[in-house]
């Protein structure tokens, strides 16, 4: 019984590696399909916003990037909790594989927000609760990446990084509810932009399709990245040696 449990645990990365490899093209394909559909709806079909003119179209990447920046952090914190509670190897690698994409999503959220804020508010940046807490999220991602990169032993790096992720997770509800808790310049409801329901639904569908695109993109990139991390960390195992010699053929 004990033997079988151990075998299962040691086999898991060897099983997950080829599975991840098979899944990458599917998620990349889904990202392309959702992205093209979302861009067609959002950039070609969706009408002008009655308040913000054509400038509102930034929403089709601003909202998906912001959602993903928060969602990726939650997923990383979930993996950190699993890793700290059950001492599983793969969970730390999953968090590590997601972090750069999460940081890029947080950056894109701030970048597109600045480009949206300038024409609508007259300022690239304000120290508003929503913007500031999103900036802190970017710093948390960068802090996690720097901390784990500074620790040589990957298992210890996972533990330290995992603690940082779990402490920092308090920031995610602060970002999400900031527009309700404080008087912010940032608009509240982002979904219903117009009163006309037919217009809102085209915009909403465009935005949801783009969010699905960003989600599938994140999974594809993270799976590709975790495969490399698996090879690096498991390099002394037989399955990695077999994998490496098999690819030279």
């Amino acid at each position: 019984m004990n033997d079988r449990f151990n075998l299962y645990r040691f086999a898991a990365p060897a099983v997950f590696y080829p599975l991840a490899g098979r899944l990458v093209p599917w998620f990349a394909g889904l990202a392309a399909i959702f992205g093209l559909a979302g861009l067609a709806l959002g950039m070609l079909v969706a009408p002008t916003d009655f308040q913000q003119g054509e400038g509102y179209r930034i929403i089709f990447i601003h909202v998906p990037a912001s959602w993903m920046s928060m969602f990726i952090y939650l997923v990383m914190a979930f993996w950190a909790a699993i890793g700290l509670a059950f001492n599983t190897r793969l969970s730390g690698m999953m968090a590590q594989a997601l972090a750069p994409t999460g940081a890029l999503m947080a950056f894109l959220s701030l970048w597109t927000g600045a480009l949206w804020g300038k024409p609508m508010w007259g300022a690239w940046w304000v120290w508003d609760a929503r913007l500031t807490s999103e900036l802190i999220l970017l710093f948390l991602y960068i802090g996690y990446l720097a901390l784990t990169a500074a620790i040589d032993d990957p298992r210890r790096a996972d533990k330290a990084g995992g603690l940082l992720l779990l402490v920092g997770v308090v920031n995610v509800p602060i970002i999400y509810f900031s527009v309700k808790w404080w008087n912010t310049l940032h608009q509240g409801a982002s979904v219903s932009l117009t009163r006309s329901p037919s217009m809102a639904s085209v915009m909403l569908w465009g935005m949801l399709l783009m969010a699905l695109c960003f989600w599938m993109y994140t999974i594809a990139v993270a799976l590709l990245r975790v495969r490399t991390i698996l090879l690096e960390r498991e390099r002394h195992t037989d399955w990695v040696k077999a994998e490496l010699t098999g690819e030279t053929r």
């Binding site: 003119g53 930034i58 480009l115 949206w116 590709l224 990245r225 495969r227 990695v240 490496l244 030279t248």
Partner: protein, 70 residues
């Protein structure tokens, strides 16, 4: 169905061209460059690990042949 009158109309984005295309351009750039960097890192890691594996194999066979000749 299509909202725009012409391609120029589409590019102009009702006067918000810099802001809209600055947002979409940065996103497109990141979503093209990130997978390329991840794939390149993967190729580099694989070739590094292969070199390491071959060096280990050489060191082992060298040790064995060294033992048999001496």
């Amino acid at each position: 169905m299509i909202h725009w009158q012409s391609f120029a109309d589409f590019l102009a984005m009702g006067g918000y061209a810099g802001y809209v295309w600055g947002s979409f351009g940065a996103t497109a750039l990141i979503m093209i460059v990130e997978p390329i960097l991840v794939a390149r890192n993967r190729r580099n890691t694989i070739s590094f690990l292969k070199r390491q594996l071959r060096a280990e194999a050489r060191a082992e066979s060298g040790a064995i042949s060294g033992n048999t000749t001496v």
